[in-house]
Symmetry: C2
Subunit: 209 residues, 2 copies
DNA sequence: GTCTATAACGTGATAGAC
DNA sequence: GTCTATCACGTTATAGAC
């Protein structure tokens, strides 16, 4: 996004290679367990270059964390604030698109959860998730249905816990679930794939319970 | 459990103090971020004593991890294998008792999830969770209801993902959920308290959907 | 068993040649 | 910009006195 220096090749520049490698390693191991040497190796560059471009491990981490956090919630916001889709339609879109997103980057939820715990106040300033979720078109539509008596479940926060839990939890607990079920990666993914269609049905049942 | 040395005072012995401190620190920070100095300070003992009793950080960690894992799944197993309670009754018991357990030790799920990811094969050998869950009375009762056509949901594994997700996810994602909702700790806990009664209702609705 | 002092090692960061 | 060599520091682990 920084165009003031006109990079020759945005994606293959050394700076980008380091950042991409850092993202991979930090997502997998978290800040504490990640070593700058791991990142340098992953990027195929010399360790000294990491400090040349980003000054310190912490600075590099903060950049990765902020970008991850923002892109992750941008995708939420775009669905939640679509004015052209109805309430149930949004649940379907959210389940389907979020599960696809998690298939491509399954470490992200755990990364965000862990690093937010170590740094609760930092990210809340830099991103307005609260607004993106609670002031969203989706939240408005929920309140209308609630007011019309079509929803009995007590409150939007419980609703969000349920929706997020059903979608995200299988990815967060994947290693554990695989070992207790004995499923292969392929079988496990197939199960989750079926949940794209099932979660909207279940959420509807919950709302009417 | 080791009675071959007849400890003078099982709970207040130096060895136990170190282990309890280690449990606290490891649960909160994970292996990589925890320092042996943190543990020694938490235990109120000298750093050298840690190595005197447990040889290394890693050995101490493995003991804590194994004990945590076993006690955590022992509580699951005791509910799942109660022959005197029915299927829906078990869901109620599980939701209520597990949420209480998580109130008292909220870091445990994230600890287990994170450390299992770093060491997938280790724990599966030492504990037979797979058997405790999939061969449980609870699983048998599920299969009977499924066979009788009283359950439409596709499969026990999906069912377990839903049940665990609804119960555990709010604790795992607590810091994130608090910041997006703006709830205080007390308000947040109050919401989760209501879920003890609601989750069984929701699970019933899901099964019949 | 418990302590102080210190060794041994790993990791983040920098100096300086090219 | 990129590399090699090295420093500085924090952390785990141990030696040895008491």
């Amino acid at each position: 996004m920084n165009t003031d220096k006109l990079k020759t090749a945005g994606d293959s520049s050394t700076e980008e290679k380091i950042k991409n490698a850092a993202r991979t390693v930090f997502h997998k191991k978290g800040f504490a367990a990640a070593r700058t040497r791991d990142i340098a190796e992953e990027a195929g560059i010399n360790l000294a270059l990491l400090n040349y471009y980003f000054r310190s491990k912490e600075k590099l981490f903060n950049i990765v964390m902020l970008e991850t956090f923002q892109s992750f919630f941008a995708s939420v916001s775009s669905i939640f604030n679509n004015p052209d889709s109805g309430f149930e339609e949004k649940i379907e879109q959210f389940a389907s698109r979020y599960i696809d997103l998690l298939f491509s980057e399954p470490e992200i939820p755990l990364f965000i959860i862990n690093e937010i715990r170590n740094n609760p106040e930092e990210l809340i300033k830099n991103t307005d998730i609260k607004h993106a979720v609670f002031q969203s078109v989706f939240a408005q539509q929920y309140k209308i249905l609630e007011h019309e008596g079509k929803i009995k479940e007590p409150g939007f926060i419980n609703f969000m816990m349920n929706l997020m839990g059903l979608i995200v939890f299988p990815f967060v607990a994947a290693p554990l679930l695989k070992s207790i079920s004995g499923l292969t990666d392929e079988q496990f993914n197939a199960v989750i794939e079926t949940r794209k269609k099932l979660i909207p049905v279940w959420m509807k049942a919950i709302l009417e319970a």
